[in-house]
């Protein structure tokens, strides 16, 4: 996995932290990175490694989502979004 593929994987992992059930639009990945063809190439490569799943329309990649394998590669994720600043402290205090 090259450096750019790692970057794409990180972005997809960060998106997973926000919403676990949704894909990411490729247009957004292109906007975030300022790259176009490179994003498509990285996604295809990551897909071949089973790190991401893709949705394509008429041969064009439209959506991408990190897989469990990709998340294992990425490491720790923190699904804290929307739970408030002190959520984990409270959670820990309650013994979970």
């Amino acid at each position: 996995m090259d450096e750019f593929e790692q970057k794409i994987l990180k972005i997809l992992a960060k998106e997973f932290e926000y919403t676990q059930g949704l894909h990411v639009e490729v247009l957004k990945l292109q906007k975030l990175t300022g790259m176009k063809d490179e994003v498509n190439a990285a996604l295809e490569s990551l897909s071949q490694q089973d790190m991401v799943t893709l949705y394509t329309e008429k041969g064009k990649i439209k959506l991408a989502k990190i897989t469990w394998k990709g998340l294992n590669e990425y490491g720790e994720v923190s699904l804290k979004y929307g739970l408030g600043k002190a959520f984990y402290e409270t959670y820990a205090k309650e013994g979970y």
Binding site: T19, G21, L22, H23, V24, E25, T53, Y55, K62, L63, K65, Y81, G82, L83, G84, K85, F87
Partner: protein, 414 residues
């Protein structure tokens, strides 16, 4: 980009652009921070409300003439502001409550009353609440039991009011009290008063805890021998019913916030459906989801057209007030029902994610249910609209032949 109505003046269009920029740059960041970090809805709504005042976007300021500190944007401006603020899903209850409380002063106040009460309300230095509901008075608004007796240059008020938004914090309470019970049959029994909330004899007896995300210090208040100067009376004794029903039109026009909330849910459902893949496709490609989106869109467009049309009628002074009450009631019923239906469709599209509080969908359903009972419940308004229709004479031009019956021509030879 704001979706201008074709009849908006250049002034309204400019105002819409300014409001849109204000909401994007000032209010959306507050809403995002609230969603990300959590927070106290009470302090957030005050923060948002004070920001609106600071930047000149108090809905009361928008409705008020320039000579009393307003920006005179009319009902179109008022509707634009409510729609735009609605789309960031932030409460500005203190501001709207003040508008509803100040409505009678705005519509019928004398110059002196406007100088004394309206000017500080417009500046956001003072706050007002409307008080109609009582322990035994809900839909039967004409059945108000609060009593007012004249004593020299003062009126003495006794009674209880219930479900009064922000009453504990307001400076003025717009009260309706019985001044002549014998005139109830012709709705001339009530009189409207502006009452200083801190007057001796007024006590806040309870603050209700509410569902939804609405933190409104919703209160039960007691009036025990509260003395009100006669100068605080709106119009004349017996005019209270007219004042109340006209001022409620302002409250009903404030319902435009639901269009903004509906637009917010439309975008939420759109974003979700385009990115949610099931059966190897985004769910936006499924007709079942497209039909639900269509139902959302139909309601937003219809609600928007209704409200802006009514605002334009008021601004141009072309509203027949007898007919307008029915029209504004119809819009209120439609918009509040539509918001509940929009939220239900959005909930179906966003499924499990929609049930998390990150999506605000179920909170919107609760808020829609509140709006369906506030400002005149939808049921009582339906009865009002229906009765109104039977008060009118039949327009014979529309009738089938059998209902036209015998004509003049037929009896010429008789």
């Amino acid at each position: 980009m704001v979706d201008y109505m074709p009849w908006w003046s250049p002034k309204s269009r400019k105002f819409a652009d300014e409001v849109e920029a204000f909401v994007d740059s000032e209010l959306i960041p507050i809403a995002m921070k609230l969603q990300e970090e959590g927070g106290d809805p009470w302090s957030i709504q005050w923060q948002a409300s004070k920001l609106c005042i600071e930047k000149g976007f108090h809905p009361l300021m928008v409705l008020t003439e320039e000579k009393y500190g307003g920006t005179d944007q009319g009902y179109t401006g008022y509707t634009i502001l409510n729609e735009e603020v609605g789309r960031c899903m932030l409460n500005i209850n203190p501001l709207l409550t003040s508008v509803f409380g100040a409505g009678p002063i705005l519509l019928y106040g004398t110059d002196a009353q406007k100088e004394e009460f309206l000017v500080p309300l417009v500046k956001g230095e003072k706050w007002a609440s409307i008080t109609v509901t009582e322990p035994d008075v809900g839909n039967d608004a004409a059945g108000v039991q609060m009593n007012a007796e004249k004593d020299g240059d003062e009126w003495v008020l006794n009674g209880w009011k219930r479900f009064i938004t922000l009453a504990a914090l307001s400076d003025y309470l717009m009260c309706y009290a019985v001044t002549d019970p014998s005139m109830k049959g012709i709705h001339r029994h009530l009189t409207a008063f502006v009452v200083e909330r801190r007057s001796p004899g007024i006590t806040v007896e309870k603050i209700n805890k509410l569902e939804g995300d609405v933190e409104m210090a919703n209160s039960v208040i007691r009036f025990h021998d509260v003395r009100v100067p006669a100068k605080n009376m709106i119009l004349e004794p017996g005019d209270g019913w007219t004042v109340m029903t006209s001022a409620l039109n302002i409250e009903r026009m404030g319902i435009a916030g639901v269009i903004g909330q509906g637009r917010c849910l439309l975008e939420t459902a759109r974003a979700y459906a385009k990115r949610r893949v099931q059966f190897t496709e985004p769910v936006s490609r499924f007709e079942a989801v497209q039909l639900r989106m269509a139902e959302i869109k139909i309601r937003i467009e219809t609600a928007r057209a209704m409200i802006y049309y009514l605002a334009d009628l008021l601004d141009k002074g072309e509203a027949d007030m007898f007919e307008f009450g029915a029209k504004s009631s119809a819009a209120k019923i439609y918009c509040t029902t539509a918001l509940g239906e929009i939220a239900t469709q959005a909930a179906a599209i966003c499924a499990g994610d929609g049930y998390t509080n990150e999506f605000s969908i179920y909170t919107t359903i609760k808020n829609a249910l509140l709006m369906q009972i506030a400002g005149g419940s939808n049921d009582i308004l339906r009865i009002f609209i229906g009765r109104n229709e039977f008060i009118k004479d039949v327009d014979e031009r529309y009738l089938p032949r059998v209902l036209k019956g015998v004509t003049k021509e037929e009896i010429q030879d008789l």
